[in-house]
């Protein structure tokens, strides 16, 4: 699960079929200044990746089922390389030794084969994964910044939309950076200008086609999403939804706390109630 606060902790997807081992790894990453998402299988990892543009690194057990010879962690690494080319994948196995994994090494940035994953090495694994994840995040942020500069030029914004750039600047801590892998995965960015959306400011949305529908998600705000049969319908539903949420944050509404703080601030800026610094 991804927190909706935007602290600059790298997000690591931990794929491990053993519940106890998964819990231990997730805890180790959370204690190691990362945000960890734990899933038990190849298919769950694929679903999580499709729904979470924020993952910075995948750490997978290579032997994900009890079937002898199963290497679904390798299959997962291959999938990640195909769909998210630049995303680092690290792997470990208590079943396969170095010789058995030699042909698969190229798919992983780090690999801990049988006999090398002792308790003492878990700290080292967390530390190396964190370093790789941070590096990947920085690269994606730079790409995001470049992509947004292009977007800004494409829309001929003579006077930079300060709020737009503030939302999307890599150092603003967004959890949804733009990168080539996301575009390859089918995500498209669309700028919905204030003249179109009826708010005081523009909105950037991710669009993704899934099972014949278009899903739209506000950039950096995954809690705000909607779907429709076309881009236009999904965006229309999303804008309508934002209006519904925004209507609920008036002066007499309950005060915000926790995750709602940043969401409420975002809505206030969108409606023009809160000025940009």
């Amino acid at each position: 699960m991804i927190s909706t606060d935007f602290a600059p902790r790298p997000v690591v997807l931990v794929v491990e079929d053993n519940a106890r081992a998964r819990e231990l790894r997730v805890d180790a990453f959370n204690d190691g200044d990362c945000t960890a998402i734990g899933v038990p299988s190849h298919d769950d990892a694929v679903r999580e990746l499709r729904a979470s543009p924020a993952v910075d690194l995948v750490l997978t057990d290579i032997h994900l089922t009890r079937d002898p010879g199963d290497k679904s962690g390798v299959a997962l690494a291959r999938y990640v390389k195909t769909r998210y080319a630049s995303m680092p994948v690290s792997g470990y196995s208590a079943v396969f030794d170095e010789n058995e994994l030699r042909d698969d090494e190229a798919l992983f940035v780090d690999i801990w084969p049988k006999g090398r994953l002792r308790a003492l090495e878990v700290d080292d694994m967390v530390s190396r994964c964190r370093e790789r994840a941070m590096q990947h995040r920085q690269e994606r942020r730079q790409e995001a910044f470049d992509a947004l500069s292009l977007l800004q030029r494409k829309h001929e914004l003579e006077h930079p939309d300060v709020e737009l750039m503030r939302e999307l600047r890599p150092d603003a801590g967004s959890e949804a950076p733009v990168d080539e892998a996301l575009r390859k995965a089918g995500y498209r960015l669309r700028l919905i200008e204030s003249t179109e959306n009826g708010f005081a400011r523009s909105i950037i949305v991710w669009l993704l086609e899934v099972d014949g529908l278009v899903e739209a998600e506000v950039y950096g705000q995954p809690a705000f999403y909607a779907d429709g049969r076309t881009d236009e319908e999904a965006i229309s539903h999303l804008v309508e939804l934002m209006r519904l949420y925004a209507a609920e944050i008036g002066d007499d509404a309950p005060e915000a706390a926790g995750p709602a703080l940043s969401l409420t601030e975002f809505l206030r800026r969108l409606t023009g109630e809160e000025e940009v610094d």
């Binding site: 927190s3 734990g38 729904a51 899934v210 899903e215 998600e217 309508e240 949420y245 706390a257 926790g258």
Partner: protein, 91 residues
Amino acid sequence: MQLSRREIESIFKKLRLEPKKSTHHLAGWLVVDGKRILPLHYSHSRKDMPGNVPHRFRKSMLLTGPEFNDMKACTMSREAYIELLRGRGLI
């Protein structure tokens, strides 16, 4: 993951959300101790949630898969959910 409108309606009821309706959505804020914590919404025009929507809904509740199953299966109460969020420092 499958998620029906009926299951979401049951979650909304359990969490005592008071959603507002638009042409496509029902949306409301989870309020705890008089403070807004999370926004949640769903499409009222569909019987089952399509595509990634079940996952997006689960993530918007800040729950893992097994936790969300507990929530759907009614084995997690509103109090347990709030306690879980509190334990994670989200409230």
